[in-house]
């Protein structure tokens, strides 16, 4: 089997030299991008939204609370997966820098969601546990935890094809399914709030989380593509390839189920279940394509057009909304 430059088991003495001609320049680029994007929750004025929060209708509040609750423990979960899961197996210096930066940024994110809960005196205990008490949210995390824990308990051997498959799957579940599908799904709920003039300072922070997560997603995609490239045996295994596709589609289905429960039959923040489902299909198709699969749903246009607001240069009315322009320095 071909040697991998990305993963292996080495002494701590090894790989402590940075080459000016890195093996995977993309990770250098991603490290720099993540570094430039670093921000802190203190830069936002979350507290300003407290009256907004109190004025949310019960369904609006439910969507907000569930979103915050889901993120609060999931950010920590991403950190766990990185630390206990595949990070110890990374050997390339820039890949390590890129993934440690991601780990650091996950701290910022959980700090951010924690400060939201503190600012609005939300029921923290309940929300941190929401992914255990709510059956659907439980499934969304469990689908990831189940697989990754195989790595946690030392079953991923980077020198066998089977081990590499396990590693690949854990990156996929963490960086693509959780960050690139589940997180993206919930981002839309937050952006719809701002679009309807609610929770603007919180959402300004989520805009920054989105920038970070798009980079984490890229971390994952690059790692997977490299592993596939270095281990052609993986793609030869038709069953495994099918299994990966199924995992992605099953995950999307879990999310559909969740969306239907929250939004079915009503409009919240101007969003309906049908739009959200179609949006998630669009997102899932993009992930499939990025990995080299055919799209599953053939949705080529993002139906949530208000999200295009996230794509433009932003000019903030400084005296009205906390600015995030100065955070990425």
């Amino acid at each position: 089997m071909q040697q991998s430059g990305l993963i292996g088991k080495t002494s701590v003495r090894d790989n402590i030299i940075i080459s000016d001609n890195p093996r995977y320049p993309i990770f250098k680029e991603l490290y720099i991008k993540q570094k430039k994007a670093i921000w802190f929750p203190e830069e936002l004025n979350i507290q300003q939204d407290v009256l907004d929060y109190k004025a949310l209708t019960p369904v609006e509040k439910e969507v907000f609370d569930m979103a915050v609750g889901y993120f609060s423990s999931s950010e920590l979960l991403v950190g766990n997966v990185l630390v206990n899961g595949f990070f110890p197996l990374l050997i390339d210096p820039y890949a390590k820098m890129s993934f440690t930066t991601q780990m650091f940024v996950e701290n910022i994110h959980s700090d951010f969601f924690e400060s939201i809960m503190q600012s609005f005196a939300m029921d923290r205990d309940k929300l941190y546990r929401i992914t255990q008490t709510d059956p659907l949210l439980y499934k969304k995390q469990d689908i990831i935890i189940r697989e990754v824990d195989k790595l946690t308990y030392g079953k991923g051997d980077p020198y066998t094809v089977a081990g590499r498959k396990l590693i690949l799957k854990s990156i996929l579940l963490n960086n693509i399914v959780m960050e690139g599908i589940f997180f993206y799904s919930t981002f839309a709920h937050f952006f719809a709030m701002k679009d309807t003039g609610k929770m603007k300072n919180v959402v300004s922070g989520v805009e920054l989380v989105l920038i970070d997560e798009s980079l984490h997603l890229q971390n994952g995609i690059e790692a997977i593509l490299i592993l596939l490239d270095e281990t052609p045996e993986i793609v030869q295994d038709e069953e495994f390839v099918q299994e990966i596709q199924t995992v992605i589609i099953d995950s999307a289905s879990l999310e559909f189920e969740y969306l239907e429960r929250m939004f079915g039959g009503k409009t919240i923040y101007g969003l309906t279940f049908r739009e959200l489902k179609r949006y998630l299909q669009y997102i899932t198709d993009r992930r499939m394509e990025e990995l080299g699969f055919e799209p599953a749903f053939h949705v080529d246009e993002n139906p949530l057009k208000f999200l295009q607001k996230e794509d433009f240069k932003k000019l903030t009315n400084f005296f009205e909304v906390s600015s995030t322009e100065y955070t990425n320095y």
Partner: protein, 808 residues
């Protein structure tokens, strides 16, 4: 899927697309639209996705609005349609409640929302002047912001105002009589000029607070500090922005004689202001804000530069405050020449606080001598360039402190005998003498230059501009006697000086109409001409008002004392100030202040939500040239709103005219501000936009601004290059690599799709093909009828049903 609409009376009916189609066609009335069916069809596609299983009529109206809003960047017409739909939502309820304008005014007075003095007007005369056809002047963004925050609401928070009533109510709160009210109403409703936000909020209401800015001075003693905290909290409560000079407060380690102890410096006191303003910010329609100014020779300056850092000891940080430097020329000169800067304790070197120009330089040098001779207890020195670099680093990183120039402000002080100018205000455009006994107050208005281009678009309509300036000056002077002053000190300043600040917005839009590039010498020349014209017109109006109503009291006082000022009597000490116009330029639908277009497509974050702003002139020009399409929109989006690199546009438009803020040389931005500043008696608030590639040039840019005679700079925007993945544009991260696709593609076993989503996709993909097929099969007449959606029932033929907009 069966969808149910719940009507206002509780009755339920089946959701019918046809009804919405008709309603949308109604919105199109009177508009000259080429392809109205296509426009409506696109709206319906969006609506279809948005309507859930059960919906109320009210929600439905709102969903239609959201659907249209999403299409705004696609065609200029959608903006108008969205504005009309929003207006429909606003007026529907209102019209059931009030039969007339007069009825609204009576209701407002009775509920103590409006001032009872409004009843002194002949309401019939005013009602006749109210012109509903003006509604089409407002664009969607402007109307959204108005209805969200500016229109009056009753005690149950229900809207009681619509656009034309709003403009008339504002006019009534300013005018002396019906004639003046109608005059102001016409100017406002045509968006020719607008008063500043507090005036628009409060004019004519029982909260008669018209002013945007207050500027106070803190003395170096505990009582004064606490007194100014109290004053600031009152000023901030009424949504004013407060500027506060803290230079006099003694430095860390300075001796406090009465206690025989050492002072803990300025930061803990500034922190009190931070907490106060944060407490008051909660829940206002507009966040109250404060800026603290300091002269950078204060020995605590380094801690001051760190106030807006977001990390470090929270007791030394002021997240709710803004900060600014009041920089003397002598320090800039030393920075320029790379000489040493010295920093002193104001308790020990108090003369520096009020000295300016030559006198400051002399005194500063004297203190340097004393310091080097070991005669001063508390001082520091640092290489000028080092300090400057450190400062600019903070400016780029935290956006603060802003840089304003003490001597440029004070050189043009019209009333030096009254007091020095101790600092500027929250937006850095104010320049009014003040002291701890006299808190400067300024009431602002801005002329929309875009509405003063002549019909042939060859020049400005100077006569109209003259008329608008005269109207605005008289209006602003009126306000001073109707205004509510939260403190005695603030009342005193206005009663002594009668200062006002008339500025501009829409300069860039006017340039575009005139075919002048913002980044050109012609733009600089025109800026100078406009400034001069404004000064001459405003001053002659003020001189005329002095004849009718008397010159400003301090002027007369000096005259009586036999020390007259060397200028002719006028009603107001100062008249012009160019404010950032952040909110009112949105209402007016134009470019803010004297800034260029920010970008051709960008998102704007406001208290009323996030809006996409498209350069409508560009869109219209490209539509006329048949070049505006979804693809072009995507292309411009990919370029982050720039058109400079889009080769297809070569020869179609003059791309030079459509440069965005970061594409205009910073020196040019400064030149334009300087050209205005030559005639503006107060200051020009100038934000500077710097492309990331020019980061290293910041030192030169700010030295240039100082050399060109700017009084003030404001925010420094540095183009942010880190971007996440574009959300709505597909990005191929995989490139040529095949990933899992190295195998032959396994068919993605997606769940079977049902419902209208798939149908919509099918229609979307094949609509033209289907339509052509249908035309062949059934003939044009039938197909057109189906397409128009005006059929009594939906077609039964499956092919026709596919193109019928009403079919589920």
């Amino acid at each position: 899927m069966n969808r149910i609409v719940v009507k206002r009376d509780g009755a339920e009916e089946k959701f019918q697309t046809r009804k919405i189609v008709n309603a949308v066609f109604w919105l199109l009335e009177g508009l000259d639209v080429k392809d109205d069916y296509d426009l409506v069809y696109r709206i319906m596609k969006e609506v279809d996705l948005k309507v859930p299983e059960r919906v109320t009529t009210e929600e439905l109206d709102y969903l239609v609005l959201k659907a249209i809003e999403q299409l705004i960047p696609r065609n200029t017409i959608y903006d108008r349609l969205a504005a009309r739909q929003l207006l429909k939502i606003i007026t529907r309820k209102l019209d059931l409640r009030f039969k007339s304008f007069a009825e609204f005014i009576h209701f407002g007075v009775q509920e103590k929302i409006l001032k009872k003095e409004l009843l002194n007007f002949d309401l019939m005369v005013l009602e006749k002047a109210v012109d509903e056809s003006r509604n089409d002047t407002l664009d969607y963004f402007g109307l959204s912001v108005l209805q969200d925050r500016y229109f009056c609401r009753d005690r149950n928070f229900e809207l009681i105002e619509k656009p034309q009533w709003f403009f008339m109510r504002v006019a009534m709160g300013i005018a002396d009589d019906e004639t003046q009210a109608v005059k102001i109403y016409h100017k406002l409703s045509a968006l020719e000029y607008l008063h500043s936000t507090p005036t628009l909020y409060n004019s004519g209401t029982t909260t008669s607070q018209y002013s945007s800015c207050y500027i106070n001075v803190v003395e170096d003693d505990l009582l004064s500090i606490m007194d100014k905290v109290r004053e600031t909290s009152l000023l901030a409560k009424y949504a004013g922005g407060v500027g506060t000079d803290v230079t006099r407060i003694r430095a860390t380690g300075s001796r406090i004689h009465s206690l025989n102890a050492k002072s803990s410096g300025i930061i803990p006191f500034i922190k009190i202001f931070d907490s106060t303003v944060n407490a008051i910010q909660q829940g206002g329609r507009r966040r109250s804000s404060q800026v603290v100014y300091i002269q950078p020779w204060h020995v605590d300056i380094e801690a001051f530069l760190d106030l807006k850092e977001t990390t470090g000891n929270a007791y030394l940080r002021t997240p709710s405050l803004n900060t600014a430097l009041w920089m003397p020329d002598e320090m800039m000169r030393r920075i320029d020449k790379g000489e040493m800067l010295y920093f002193f304790d104001p308790a020990e070197c108090s003369g520096l606080v009020e000295a300016h120009g030559e006198a400051f330089t002399k005194l500063y040098k004297e203190y340097i001598k004393q310091a080097e001779a070991g005669k001063l207890r508390l001082w520091k020195k640092m290489d000028g360039r080092e300090f400057y670099k450190k400062y600019l680093f903070k400016l780029a990183k935290t956006g603060h402190p802003w840089l304003t120039f003490k001597d440029a402000h004070n050189r043009q002080n019209p009333c030096p005998a009254y007091s020095v100018i101790n600092s500027s205000n929250l937006c850095t455009e104010i320049s009014i003498p003040n002291s701890s006994q006299s808190t400067a107050v300024c009431t602002l208005a801005s002329i929309n230059l875009a509405k003063h281009v002549n019909a042939g678009k060859t020049d400005l309509d100077w006569e109209k501009l003259h008329d608008t300036i005269a109207t605005a000056v008289k209006a602003l002077d009126n306000i001073m006697d109707r205004n509510f002053y939260p403190s005695e000190e603030s009342k005193k300043n206005t009663m002594d000086l009668r200062p006002m600040g008339l500025g501009v917005m829409g300069f860039a839009e006017a340039l575009l109409d005139l075919g002048i590039s913002y980044d050109s010498d012609r733009a600089v020349t025109l800026a100078g001409q406009i400034g001069e014209f404004m000064k001459n017109t405003a001053y002659s109006k003020s001189a005329q008002m002095a004849k009718e109503r008397g010159a400003f009291p301090h002027y007369l006082e000096m005259q009586q004392q036999g020390k007259p000022y060397p200028y002719k009597p006028r009603r107001n000490a100062v008249l012009l100030a160019i404010a950032p116009t952040a909110s009112i330029s949105i209402i007016a639908g134009t470019t803010s202040t004297i800034d260029s277009y920010f970008s051709n497509i960008y998102a704007r974050d406001t208290l009323s939500g996030k809006f996409i702003v498209v350069n409508k002139k560009l869109m219209a020009q490209l539509e006329a040239a048949d070049q505006w399409s979804d693809e072009m929109y995507e292309t411009i989006k990919t370029w982050n709103g720039s058109v400079q690199h889009i080769a297809e546009l070569e020869g179609v438009i003059d791309r030079e005219l459509y440069k965005s803020a970061y594409e205009i040389a910073p020196a040019r931005q400064v030149d334009i501000a300087a050209a205005f500043q030559r005639s503006v008696d107060q200051a020009v608030s100038k934000s500077i936009y710097i492309d990331e590639d020019l980061r290293d040039k910041m030192e030169d840019i700010y030295l240039y601004a100082w050399n060109q005679g700017l009084k003030s700079t404001y925010y420094c925007f540095i183009d942010k290059t880190v971007k996440g993945e574009k959300y709505t544009t597909q990005v191929n991260k995989r490139g040529a690599r095949r990933g899992f696709g190295s195998r032959s593609p396994v068919s993605a076993a997606a769940e079977p799709e049902t419902g209208s989503v798939v149908e919509t996709v099918a229609i979307e993909n094949d609509v033209q093909a289907l339509e052509a097929q249908a035309r062949q099969q059934f003939g044009d007449a039938v197909v057109d009828k189906v397409l128009s959606g005006n059929m009594d029932s939906c077609p039964t033929d499956p092919l026709l049903a596919k193109i019928c907009p009403s079919c589920e």
